[in-house]
Symmetry: C3
């Protein structure tokens, strides 16, 4: 009896003693989850810097178009992010549960939209960019759902695309090309969009902002333990494409093109997207080199020929920076990732191309209803005053030329 009491006493003591750490462990779990979410938030801010400052300034190279490019960037981001959140709220997954993941997914949609807009840069009014955003987001979400979340049951198996080579870069580029194809008239083609070759430094600023924060884009939704390896892979891929771009640019053009340096240097980031958390460093570097070569070849050789052939203009060359390297990245996963579901991966690429092309053609027709232009858009059309900016040598001539 005495023993029994003793034992009960001890069991009670035991229960209390142990429950402390157990409770603490539960609280610790909640706090760890919160800290991990704040780290995702940090990466979300990095992505926002890429969207506004990176994409915005990379596009500041069309003649007399600096303010429009930056304003369009502002509007495209501000339309697409709330729209994506609105879509998410239809799922009934309200509250702030997983809200940071939704923010990152919304930023991915905005990134894809900005890539898309690059193809038609210099052709649209501000209101048309907003319409483009409204049309783009649902189609983007459809493709995301079909390819990554098994929507419609078209793909059975895991698609490898952590950093979005396929669903973000290739989708956005092909959607944009389809919009351009569906909108551009013969007259538009004949009036080329002139480059403002004084804006190299701004473009390089945008380029560098994208380069710097690219690891956060690819690792945005990756588990904490995998972030360092992913980051190193992305950085090595970018180093690879940067070196390759220099050599390819000199080789293919005779001289270095600052536009190649601003653009093709980033192709490594695009191509490593699919396999950023799975590749080993050496492979990542090699993928970067290949992407840099492919992209520079696109800008230096393919662009002028394709433009002549199709009579359609891809203003920023999104096919060469996002389209080709994106698909390269999706295909590279077949070699890099052991045990990959080959059918699922290839189907994902084909579906993405199909949805992007189809919905882009439709969207282009809808946008064209709001007005087409025979002359390229210039800032003065919609903006107050005159941005003599860095064109101030002959502003008057230019102004009379273009209105």
């Amino acid at each position: 009896m005495k023993n029994c009491i003793k034992n009960i006493l001890m069991l009670t003591l035991l229960a209390f003693a142990v429950s402390g750490p157990v409770c603490a462990a539960e609280n610790v779990g909640t706090t760890l989850a919160a800290l991990s979410d704040v780290q995702k938030y940090e990466r979300a801010i990095h992505i926002m810097a890429m969207l506004l400052i990176g994409f915005g300034f990379l596009m500041v190279f069309v003649k007399k178009y600096g303010r429009s490019a930056l304003t369009a960037t502002y509007l495209l981001v501000s339309v697409s992010i709330p729209l994506y959140f609105l879509k998410e709220s239809f799922h009934g997954v309200g509250g702030s549960e997983g809200i940071i993941d939704k923010l990152i997914l919304a930023e991915f949609a905005a990134a894809s939209l900005l890539i898309c807009a690059g193809a038609v840069l210099g052709r649209l009014k501000m209101s048309q960019y907003m319409l483009l955003g409204v049309l783009f987001v649902p189609f983007y979400a459809l493709n995301e759902w079909v390819v990554l979340n098994g929507g419609l049951g078209l793909i059975s198996g895991k698609v490898v695309d952590t950093g979005g080579s396929i669903v973000i870069h290739a989708f956005g580029a092909i959607f944009g090309l389809a919009v351009a194809a569906s909108m551009t008239t013969q007259k538009e083609y004949e009036t080329p969009i002139e480059c403002d070759d004084t804006s190299d430094r701004y473009s390089l600023l945008g380029s560098m902002v994208l380069w710097v924060f690219w690891p956060s884009f690819c690792a945005a939704l990756v588990a904490p333990a995998d972030v360092p390896r992913t980051a190193v892979n992305v950085i090595l891929a970018l180093c690879g494409s940067t070196i390759a771009t220099y050599f390819a640019s000199v080789r293919l053009r005779g001289k270095i093109s600052a536009a190649d340096i601003a653009n093709a240097t980033l192709a490594g980031g695009v191509a490593i997207g699919s396999t950023c958390d799975l590749a080993v460093p050496g492979t990542a570097f090699a993928i970067g080199i290949m992407a840099g070569i492919v992209s520079t070849f696109g800008f230096a050789i393919i662009q002028s020929r394709l433009t002549e052939l199709t009579k359609k203009v891809d203003t920023c060359g999104v096919l060469y920076l996002h389209g080709m390297p994106g698909i390269l990245g999706g295909v590279a996963a077949l070699v890099v990732v052991s045990g990959i579901n080959v059918v699922a991966q290839l189907t994902a690429i084909l579906i993405t191309v199909a949805i992007a092309a189809g919905s882009g053609l439709i969207s282009g027709k809808v946008i064209a209803v709001m007005g087409r232009r025979s002359e390229p858009y210039i800032d003065e059309e919609e903006f107050e005053g005159e941005e003599s900016g860095q064109n101030e040598v002959q502003p008057l001539i230019a102004a009379t030329d273009t209105v």
Copy 2:
């Protein structure tokens, strides 16, 4: 006896077994706190990017004033942050306990000072900016103490102002307006400060840096678990004000003003400050839209009339970007936050306006003692060489004009 020994043995065993996790839990607590502080540090760095790059480049639009605006930004930050730390050290709260919170509070003071300086941009010499900083920080700290920490017992109750709509934005703006009112002479008014309308891209760069990092400003001192929701609210408010600014600018001016896009797009961030951690996403978006409209209306309609009426110049229009949206944000809390202490909130706004106006007037008089000018300040006055910069069309004429 044997049992007794067994039991003692078991109790000892128990004690050891349990003490491991207990100790671990204590260490875990310390580590979690350290990690949480490092996350605050990350946000502190984001705020620093806003202070120097954001505010700095947003202000690079006054004619022949690019270098001064950036140098003034450097000096204002470098004077106010150590000064705020010095004040803190008087409290006897030495050591590195809570040092990261102090850093963030010091950055808030610097932000408010930079807002204040925007009102008198183009009127002060570099040394006068530093004097402005020395005068500003104590008054700012006084208002912070009275409004947020119950100083002097004037406010009994919690004031809702997490992101500083009232104590940072409205305070800085009104202080600056009072300085301008107290300093500007009739002659100064008649010699307007000319805009360098070639600097749109720099202003938009500053604007975008502010936009991107704004969530970190508002969430700087928020608990980890609340950071994601706060960030989403701030981003949605900024999206709202960006879209609203476009529509309002076109509506009110006929054409888009790049200055509106650079400035009023940020009004959503100002206005969501008070309620950034308490609002729901839809409300945040709505507050952003309202703030964008109010701010654009200020820039497009009120500014020119008020300038004519008062014969005083608010160089950067801080009343319309920080003053009006700041007070809007403070008042919006009355509607958004259930169970808010209405009296405390309204008293906080009134006290802030009163302290800012009074201390601004005094500070203006003090600064004026160091010299006033009939001509707007130009870089050449204090800077070596000539920044032909983007004004190189008529540098010689300008130079002879102004010296």
Copy 3:
């Protein structure tokens, strides 16, 4: 017997009850380590922003050299980071264990290389920059090994250099000066590198990016609990050098030099490097003030005299921004850190100077084999088109001059 069973039962129960929290604690430990690594990753991204955007734009001030400076920055980073990783992989420390520390160390090497390149800016072709990177990294790693890791047994004792005043800043600067000394011919000296004094705003952008992210550079590898204090020390040192630079520039030159503001403001960050985690805030501020004065004195007084004396050009003045403040920081540790190993610290400085000077001289000779120039490098030599940029007043004359 019954008691015995009871006791066994209880022990079993105990084992289970306790094993839960113990296991949890182990998992918690792993998660905490992962979160801490992600925080290092955040700082690694900040450093990357410094390398590309900071150093890149700070160097955009040589006449007709904007695109080259930025392209060179891209190439130097992209060569040095993979090279440093390659070196690490020779150690057989494969896998992703500690991979984030390696990334940060690789970035430190890249930073030192960029400092080095600043001394010869405007003298090298793009391919020569890459060769410079290939030559630099092994020597840098040798010095790092000898000074910080006890390599060759030359230093017995801990060297205080957390933020790299000695091994990063002083090493890079002296290596660069040696390269310049070893390469520059009399004819090169006589053809001065002209400054593009229209690029102040770009230089100030680069400067501000460096200022903002400097705390992450110094605290990159510091334990979480020490990050806040380190950050505050770095920020106060930078505030000190910024204020000191203003006063020294006015004092020594009569007027403010924008180049001083862009450069010497950062000297506080260089000098606080060695003791960033050990100093108290007041000392940090004082070190910053001293560094600002020393650096501005270097730019304003020493630079022109030394150039005339040695007939050698240090294009960016790395001696005055990184060399002198770096050694000042290393020596300051003798005063600031109690119980410091004085012999080890001084030996570290001497060895660093010796290795940097020796290897720089050799590297200069090797690079010179690839071609020297009598005229400063201009963009048109290797770049397509013409960056009329901000020199558009006389683009035609310049073009005919230079080809």
